[in-house]
Symmetry: C2
Subunit: 422 residues, 2 copies
């Protein structure tokens, strides 16, 4: 690792540690003021932000970035306004810090409870979308943490302009600007140094494609909250209402294609396949979705354009208008298929049967398990978290949509009256 | 890494994954039956367990283990009975698995809640004490996890005998014996292989001395719940009752010396030092505790045997009848001292002052923060967890005493009625 990179991260890390100590104690109104001010500064500096983004877009053209990447990178007035509104929404959320729960007396006479506290210093490593700079920093600020942001090199000008707005708002609210720091360099060695800085950073949250997540997971000495694939399933049970099954499956697949909570594989119980699979496949084809089916599916869909699904299809996150379809013999077979191929993100069962639904909720071991609802609901806003910094596919600390609470931890507090242990 | 070690861990890991899937769904009565039966089998096999322990004790003599290590290793009838009772106590605890909380309707019409589920496969790496085999396995069993145990080589015969009892009880209760597996070899390469087996193991919990914890933290690719030092503080505030301060400080230091929640440093506000420090130091000396004080402490204690505390003392976990004492200028100075030298385990303030106590609870960032109570209360039993597998000094997932809940995670469950996202 390059010495300069380590030195630079150590400087940022030390500043973040000091800022985190102050942020931990910052009161709710100061944090809300900073968020509201940041929104105002972003609106005021709209021109500068768009000018910075234009530099990134120019470089994107020169570097031949594809249309999807350029769309993610591009800012306009509406998108800056949406970022500002996002910060105001975070200001309106309840402050999780300092909340005490489960305060109870013990036989010894002490009263014991749990107090929610910030994690400390959070490192966020992300790609393309400049709005992550505002969203992530806003969530870290509200939850009382300091944050070190490392955006993609393709968005460096945009990120710099947005971070400057946020830092100005911190200062104008009487908080330390070091609570939000941007790694203002595209040197890749800095990511390596950040991942090794366990002395200064309490958790790393990567947001981006598979290769980024894998690099971070492999190299990090700091605990990671990560978000891997979303290979999500809809299982149409024997006791499903056909109309509801079509409605949920179509929404889960076609509402948006490039998102992690979209369905990638549709499982159908063989007892209802004959009547339902045609309607389901027909609805997908009408939406322009390519359908890849198992042998039985193709048999049931004679006359419809169903391609052959291979073993690889079951394990693929398409993020595209492609769907794999499999007919299964039983609820157990559906649960087994999901256990084998799912990325443990989100699965749903469509059924009117109490036992089947209850068993599915209990037996499927994914971060979100649903009954008669679209997988697209797996989202921080839809779950009532107010906002999300990502969707964790880890098992420890936080699973599924990560909101303000996922950016905090708890400590035990004890109220005594002179008690000692005997 | 040796190929044989990796192969052996892969075999255990695959078996554990299969067993974990079954354990996840095991009902409460089957798990309780296995725990109660395990206690019965241990009592029945008492002779065999003690004979196995005698082999370990003989090897300990031959290898020149010190008296403290031999005491930790030694089993007798009472200690085996205590292990059996511990398993029965775990059987009596409520089952955390499947519990649903915060089930609420959202504006979309879906109902969203959290269901508690096991972590999966837990690896426990520990030293000397054979009772960890029963305690840790019992907690993992009740929380619906599979466990791979790796005890110290000095206790291999004892651990083997205890694990055999537990596995027999699993089988006799209709559960898989692979839910509790012991690495039946003293080859150190197996620890390395276990730490790299992220495919089969969800979390590693090391229990033992500093060097073990450090090795595990440095090498593990699997998430770790670790327990580092306990450098705990008692702060006697300006508004402390002198009598209560002496009672709490003496209990925190002298109730047991070799435990992580014992006080190592006593901080005293300068306004009460003149009247209180003499009484505090006198009480410690009477208990045979060596006192090392700052210059001011030594001034206040003229005539008493107070040695000079060095910078190193503030950062030392003595685990022995030694105490460092420092007089501080203010509550802020006490909080700063703790922030600098504490291991973030447990700290307590003694005060009758509302503002000082409230500030201490809020500002001190340790896993347990107390007001007018002995640090010795930082313990799973005292907190009402029923039992503990250790005390986490990590920030993520679980902090402080780790009971059944710390061995579980949560998934989101959604009850819908055909809702789709618009």
């Amino acid at each position: 690792m390059e010495v300069d990179a380590v030195n630079m991260i150590n400087v940022l890390g030390k500043q973040a540690r000091v800022a985190a100590k102050a942020m931990r104690m910052a009161n709710t109104s100061a944090k809300n003021r900073a968020l509201t001010l940041a929104a105002a500064v972003m609106r005021r500096e709209m021109k500068e932000i768009l000018a910075a983004n234009a530099l990134d877009m120019k470089a994107a053209d020169e570097n031949g970035l594809d249309a999807a990447m350029k769309d993610r990178l591009m800012l306009n007035g509406d998108r800056v306004e949406a970022m500002a509104e996002g910060l105001e929404q975070i200001a309106a959320l309840p402050d999780p810090v300092g909340a005490v729960d489960n305060l109870n007396y013990r036989p010894s006479g002490i009263q014991i409870g749990h107090m929610r506290v910030p994690l400390g210093v959070i490192g966020i490593i992300y790609e393309s979308r400049p709005n992550v700079t505002a969203d992530a920093a806003g969530l870290c600020l509200k939850s009382g943490n300091a944050v070190i942001l490392r955006g993609g090199s393709e968005a460096i000008h945009s990120n710099r302009a947005i971070a400057a707005c946020l830092r100005r708002a911190l200062v104008d609210s009487g908080l330390s600007q070091d609570a939000i720091q941007l790694i203002d360099s595209t040197d890749r060695a800095l990511v390596g140094a950040l991942l090794k800085s366990e002395q200064y950073v309490d958790v790393i949250i990567p947001r981006g494609g598979k290769s980024l997540i894998e690099r971070v997971s492999a190299e990090s000495r700091v605990p990671v909250i990560k978000h891997l694939d979303g290979i999500c399933h809809v299982y149409v049970d024997r006791a499903a209402k056909a109309e509801m099954a079509v409605k949920i499956a179509v929404n889960a697949k076609t509402h948006r294609y490039g998102v992690c909570n979209a369905m990638e594989t549709l499982l159908i119980h063989r007892d209802v396949a004959a009547e339902t699979v045609q309607a389901l496949v027909q609805a997908m084809l009408e939406k322009g979705v390519e359908v890849r089916g198992c042998a039985q599916t193709r048999e049931c869909c004679a006359g419809l354009d169903v391609k052959i699904a291979t073993e690889e299809d079951w394990a693929t996150e398409y993020l595209a208008p492609i769907l794999s379809v499999r007919i299964v013999d039983s609820l157990d077979a559906a649960v087994d298929h999901i256990a084998t191929y799912s990325s443990d993100h989100t699965e749903t069962i469509v059924t009117e049967d109490y036992e089947a639904g209850s068993r599915f909720l209990r037996e499927v071991d994914s971060s979100s398990v649903m009954w008669n609802a679209s997988t697209r609901f797996a989202d921080g806003f839809e779950y009532g978290l107010g906002a999300e910094i990502g969707i964790s596919t880890d098992r420890l600390h936080v699973r599924g949509p990560v909101g303000l609470e996922g950016l905090t931890t708890q400590k035990w507090i004890v109220y005594g009256h002179g008690e000692v242990r005997s």
